[in-house]
């Protein structure tokens, strides 16, 4: 090659043009010590509430996995180790905000008022699991990253209608590689949308490690190209994630537009119950990650503040277990929906011209009944 034998090209004609910087937010270190002053929102009561919800989230999670393992539920994506992420989001959202979740947001979902039994129903293969929850919130989104353009659309609607809420969307680290992610950040910047994007960077997209998704050192810096604000937070620090969302909300209100928050977490479990993470990562790595997990850290902080005792822990664990068991009972008692329900919500007004389909289904059912 010609160019190689040439002397190295000098960087001539260059002038500085722009400079950018990124920050990271963290309050609690991995040992539960405060790295800086406790922010005003993080009252004693707030900290205990956050802690209790994170524990509930984890208890729910392990029960859901058990249900799947015993054939009582379908494939399930555990949120083990990512409880601070979901809890902070659920607590930071206001009633009228639009929440646009992905599939690993059980913690946030529960705080949005979804019935626990409905979450199980959804993962049990029943559409009715998505019928509850706030009217404006989106259902669980499976096609990666598509939810973020919906969130941008919802944010645009809020802006068009002159409403003051935000649209908050979650997405995985893998999801940040897909075009929708970028197109949405980009329009959020161009249109100054009240959009908050929170990335659950749990280091893996199924088996694909974070560094194969992207060559950049952080995902937060993807905000720069879209002209929106980006920030990284310790995603295992529930106080930090909450603080980042508060700041993002304020930015939206001041019409400074959207924010990308990269929350650093780790997926302690398998990708889903259909996955076997030991194929692609070492036990050693997972063991290290356990040292960072969010619940222990907050528990230590609570202990140090004298806000939480071993007795409270035991009582709360038991209460969570009971609440989850009750939800499981409710779930298991829900009969499957009718076969015809597959048509009930296809169009609002049933097109008469489609009646043949109903006849075909009726015939099929008749055959299935007469074994």
């Amino acid at each position: 090659m010609k160019a190689i034998t040439q002397a190295p090209i000098e960087a001539q004609g260059h002038q500085p043009l722009m400079a950018f910087s990124l920050e990271k937010i963290q309050f609690l270190d991995t040992d539960g010590n405060w790295l800086c002053e406790r922010p005003s929102f993080a009252s004693d009561q707030w900290l205990v509430q956050a802690y209790k919800h994170m524990v509930l989230n984890r208890v729910f999670d392990s029960k859901a996995i058990a249900l799947q393992r015993t054939g009582q539920m379908g494939t399930y994506p555990s949120s083990l180790g990512q409880e601070a992420f979901g809890t902070a989001i659920g607590m930071a959202l206001q009633k009228d905000d639009v929440f646009v979740p992905y599939y690993r947001d059980h913690g946030a979902h529960l705080l949005r008022g979804h019935k626990m039994s409905d979450l199980l129903l959804y993962w049990g293969g029943d559409e009715r699991g998505s019928a509850s929850g706030p009217q404006q919130d989106f259902p669980i989104c499976v096609p990666i990253a598509t939810q973020i353009t919906h969130a941008a659309g919802a944010a645009a609607a809020l802006k068009i209608k002159g409403q003051d809420q935000i649209a908050l969307v979650t997405i995985g680290d893998g999801g940040t590689s897909k075009g929708d992610f970028f197109e949405s950040l980009n329009v959020a910047g161009a249109w100054q949308l009240p959009l908050v994007v929170v990335v659950n960077n749990n280091q893996y997209a199924i088996s694909v490690p974070r560094e194969i998704q992207c060559g950049a050192p952080t995902l937060a810096q993807k905000a720069i190209g879209a002209g929106i604000h980006g920030v990284q937070v310790d995603g295992n620090d529930v106080v930090a994630v909450y603080q980042a969302i508060l700041e993002a909300r304020q930015r939206a209100h001041l019409h400074k537009g959207a924010t990308l928050i990269e929350a650093m977490t780790y997926r302690l479990g398998d990708h889903t119950t259909a996955d076997d993470a030991s194929r692609y990562r070492s036990n050693e790595e997972v063991k290290q990650a356990w040292l960072n997990e969010p619940i222990k850290r907050l528990q230590t902080a609570l202990h140090q503040l004298n806000l939480w005792s071993a007795e409270q822990e035991q009582a709360w664990q038991q209460q969570c277990g009971e609440q989850v068991d009750q939800a499981v009972q409710t779930y298991l008692n829900i009969k499957p929906d009718s076969a015809e329900s597959m048509f009930d919500y296809l169009y609002q007004d049933w097109p008469e011209v489609m009646n043949e389909q109903l006849d075909l289904l009726a015939d099929k059912l008749a055959r299935q009944q007469h074994k």
């Binding site: 639009v98 646009v100 559409e127 009715r128 998505s130 019928a131 509850s132 929850g133 009217q135 404006q136 989106f138 259902p139 096609p143 598509t146 973020i148 353009t149 919906h150 969130a151 941008a152 659309g153 919802a154 944010a155 645009a156 609607a157 809020l158 068009i160 209608k161 649209a167 075009g179 929708d180 197109e183 949405s184 980009n186 329009v187 161009a190 249109w191 597959m342 009930d344 919500y345 296809l346 169009y347 609002q348 007004d349 097109p351 008469e352 011209v353 489609m354």
Partner: protein
């Protein structure tokens, strides 16, 4: 353009199909505040064909939004807006560029109501000029309506006259479910016809019988309707009386009207410009063959584009069906009878 909406008495206007689209958009944006328009170049430029001309001036940039260049985004934004009580009418600049929007159409627009058991709905319209024959560059002549028609939960509508463009577009915007509205650009600027700008919508699942006849049923939609009517003229000179049906609402498909017609004529020719195989014509042919089994005097014929890409425009006439092709197909029906 909008002042006339202030008037109590609806005005009659001489319109091309393109102007009828514009008129319907003006009407509905005027009467329903939740209607918003978005897409590439739909604002200041009024769309590359001028379908959205005047909207931004009348309704402001908050309701008429030039988007960044990204069709997946346009579709996804529409889903998001529709979920929050708006009625987005999005434009895809040419149907050849609709593919990035497909994931949102198939995975979300058509499913949101079903997925949430009615909690969240998706009353959006995706408009796109479609079809060939205007000597445009590559990718500007696609007619892939079959792909969308196969998609559950979505309606597909194709007008073939100014009045049907007006009435069907109003219906599409008002429909509580997602509609893909394909505008045959070959006849965008065809004959001007009188339209009463009275906001009257047309039904979204009914064929239009444009001409009654007794010997053969010609079924088509979009720009090919012009060729089909021309063929019907030629046939009538030969003493063959052709019924002409404009399918117009591709999905859901009003097969009953077509079956009734073929049951009485006994012969059927389907005309479309999309590639022949796995297209909308196949579904119609399959259903008519099945349901008119005892009435058919000859096999159902299809006159279509070929199973290849629309050639670049120097040769596009070799690809597009024309009235001679239709007459020849009818002749085959009579020979084989």
């Amino acid at each position: 353009m909008s002042q006339h909406h202030q008037q109590p008495v609806p005005a009659t206007q001489e319109c091309t199909l393109l102007e009828a689209v514009n008129l319907a958009l003006h009407y509905e944006m005027h009467h329903d505040e939740s209607v918003v328009v978005l897409g590439e170049d739909v604002g200041t430029n009024g769309g590359v064909f001028r379908a959205t001309s005047g909207l931004k001036e009348t309704f402001g940039f908050k309701r008429v939004m030039d988007t960044p260049l990204a069709e997946a985004l346009i579709a996804g934004l529409s889903v998001g807006m529709a979920s929050q009580g708006l009625k987005p009418v999005a434009e895809i600049q040419f149907m050849g560029f609709i593919f990035p929007a497909f994931e949102h159409l198939f995975c979300h627009a058509g499913r949101m109501r079903n997925r949430t058991r009615g909690r969240m709905t998706c009353p959006m319209v995706l408009r796109a000029p479609y079809g060939g024959g205007i000597h445009a560059p590559e990718h500007h002549s696609e007619s892939t309506e079959a792909l969308i028609a196969h998609t559950p939960g979505i309606r597909v509508v194709i007008p073939s006259s100014p009045a049907r463009a007006y009435g069907l577009l109003l219906a599409a915007i008002r429909d509580p479910d997602p509609v893909v509205f394909l505008e045959p650009k070959r006849i965008y600027r065809g004959t001007k016809l009188n339209i009463l700008d009275d906001g009257q919508a047309l039904p979204l699942d009914t064929c239009f019988t444009l001409r009654t006849g007794t010997d053969v049923t010609l079924i088509s939609w979009g720009a090919c309707i012009a060729d089909t009517l021309e063929a019907a003229d030629a046939l009538s000179e030969k003493g063959i009386s052709a019924e002409v049906i404009d399918v117009a609402t591709i999905k859901p498909l009003d097969i009953h009207t077509m079956i009734m017609s073929v049951a009485s004529t006994g012969r059927c020719v389907i005309v479309h410009e999309a590639a022949r195989s796995f297209a909308v014509g196949a579904e119609i042919a399959a259903q008519i063959s099945e349901k008119c089994f005892l009435n058919l005097l000859a096999p159902v014929q299809r006159v279509t584009g070929f199973d290849t890409h629309m050639p670049y425009f120097r040769n596009e006439q070799y690809y597009l069906p024309n009235s001679k092709d239709i007459v020849a197909a009818v002749d085959r029906c009579f020979k084989e009878a």
